[in-house]
Symmetry: C2
Subunit: 343 residues, 2 copies
């Protein structure tokens, strides 16, 4: 029976603030390249792994969330694209490509096969896109925009962290819907991508703005109908001041509030009353019945060249801790993916 070396990225300690590279460590194990008889499991070779901000929540020693913490000294769990090496499950066979929750390691034994999705390889769509454009972040953008924002043609849409895994698709869906779209990001390179590659009407670097309220008034003299919030904090506070009557705020993530304990809090929430704002948090996992229509819609537009997607691909499992930590300082440009192996 074949046994292989199995490099891993494990969690060293639970975190309190933003994750650092040193909170993770490389480990080395051995693994039998076989799915045990009667286990209904799959033994997979991991190809691409996804770095997603929500994973920070699982690095905290907090059991009250919608998803449990990682286990210390065990490989980190996250979305990945993998190739089946051995299957004890009649729904999968060796050679199949799958996406779903796997481990940050070279090979994984996956017992929770119900959460896996089989991928039909398609030369016109990179495999790794099943972690971004066609995966959880893309689905988050799709649900957030269509189900939570109640968009109408011609409306003014603001997206924060706009070049990120979710934001870049939100902006493009909004453009396809006939909206006017402005994005914020944290570097001039990202602003350039938003305007020149992703088709946003305008974009700005929030780090260069001393007054976010004034910046939003400049880009939205008529106010904002829809704010797709990927960050919380000061940008949310400024957006509240600039919402139009009956505006909607889809709250997708609050990176700034989670990682930095901000003693200022949100000051402008009172605006929701006179402006009759609807503010709604959501998780894509509540809408999984809509996944097939999402896949069809986005794949079709991608193939027609109406949607593009920017990935930040790191080579090698060893790069994962730094890449993950980099998410929270905005080091990544586009969707952060780790390539463990190409096939």
């Amino acid at each position: 029976m074949a046994t292989a070396e199995n490099k891993q990225v494990v969690l060293q300690r639970y975190i309190e603030e933003a994750p650092r590279e040193t909170d993770m460590a490389m480990g080395r194990g051995k693994i039998e390249l076989k799915a045990p008889k009667g286990s209904a499991a799959l033994l997979v070779k991991n190809l691409y792994l996804s770095c997603d901000p929500y994973m920070r929540g699982r690095m905290r020693d907090f059991h009250g969330s919608y998803i449990p913490p990682f286990v210390l000294s065990q490989p980190i769990e996250g979305f990945g694209v993998a190739k089946v090496v051995d299957s004890d499950n009649p729904d999968f066979k060796a050679g199949d490509f799958i996406s779903g929750l796997t481990g940050w390691e070279e090979y994984s034994l996956i017992r929770s096969t119900w959460q896996l999705r089989k991928i039909q390889p398609d030369d016109s769509v990179p495999l790794s896109y099943h972690l971004g454009l066609l995966g959880m972040p893309g689905f988050t953008a799709y649900i957030g925009f269509y189900e939570i924002c109640s968009p109408k043609k011609g409306e003014y849409v603001f997206v924060s962290a706009a070049s990120g895994a979710v934001g870049q698709l939100v902006g493009q869906l909004a453009k396809l819907h006939g909206c006017y779209v402005v994005g914020s990001a944290g570097s001039s390179q990202k602003v350039d991508l938003l305007k020149n590659k992703l088709g946003f009407d305008e974009a700005f670097n929030y780090k260069e703005e001393t007054d976010l309220d004034a910046a939003l008034k400049r880009y939205f003299p008529e106010g904002i109908d829809i704010y797709f919030d990927n960050v919380g904090g000061a940008i949310l506070d400024a957006a509240l001041l600039n919402m139009r009557i009956h505006g909607r705020i889809a709250v997708c993530g609050m990176v700034s509030l989670h990682s930095i304990s901000d003693p200022k809090g949100i000051q402008n929430l009172y605006c929701v009353v006179p402006k009759r704002i609807r503010m709604q948090g959501f998780l894509q996992s509540d809408y999984l019945d809509k996944f097939p229509q999402f896949l069809e819609h986005v794949t079709e537009n991608f193939k027609q060249g109406k949607i593009v997607y920017i990935e930040d691909m790191n080579e090698g499992l060893e790069t994962a801790p730094a890449a993950f930590a980099g998410l929270f300082s905005g080091k990544n440009v586009g969707k952060q993916v780790i390539c463990v192996a190409r096939d």
Copy 2:
């Protein structure tokens, strides 16, 4: 042509923080008890005047809100119940009772008759109730509960400022809907009314709680499905921590955030994502087409004894400035009304 003395309450200066009695002053004018020919106006005798928290917004020199500021040295404008003395409008005649926007004075000339509602006097319903239970506050409760909260039988409902003009009806509607209802208020007298007169399942005095999060965990061990927010601030922050998944927050008013500039802001807004909370500001005026069904529903339940209403009635126009200022320190017990004249 009869001319009468006309005592008035006028705004002396625009305010920055909470209104004080001395921001208003008594004035004395004269008024012709006649609606000018061709004006389509009404000359009314004001009977009952309503003190409502939203009026604070009109005391500020700020023109960007949904309603313009008051004019200095002019009578304050607010909801009232009045009797028509003279009418130049074919829809009204002398002797009719009306409710709507009028002045804080003994007699008013009302030119905006489109916003008036004719009241059919009914011995079983006090006239002043058209400023509370059957007026704007009651309609706010009705819209907020049924249209914004999406209530389901058996859900856990929390109401702040629960003995106030809006809160007391929200709690009773929620009980009639089959919910479990807890209210917070600022005195033991109000807590007693909530439990023993208004039919709340539980109630507590927030001023006696050193830890509002712990208080809510005590009253809602299973969490809160619906929070009807009349205050904002620290109670909203604690409620966010205690919401259940897919909880709803109807934001009706944020007394604490408006009047006291709170440097803490709202700290726990991040909860909206993992808990998928929908938070929505609203104004009753967006739903006026539902006013007739509100009136019928609440009047019917009131006549059957299934709904009660607590008023805090002050006698005499002179008492209005202190009564209004008292709203913001919670001096009133129930809906604050000023009796100017009984008929």
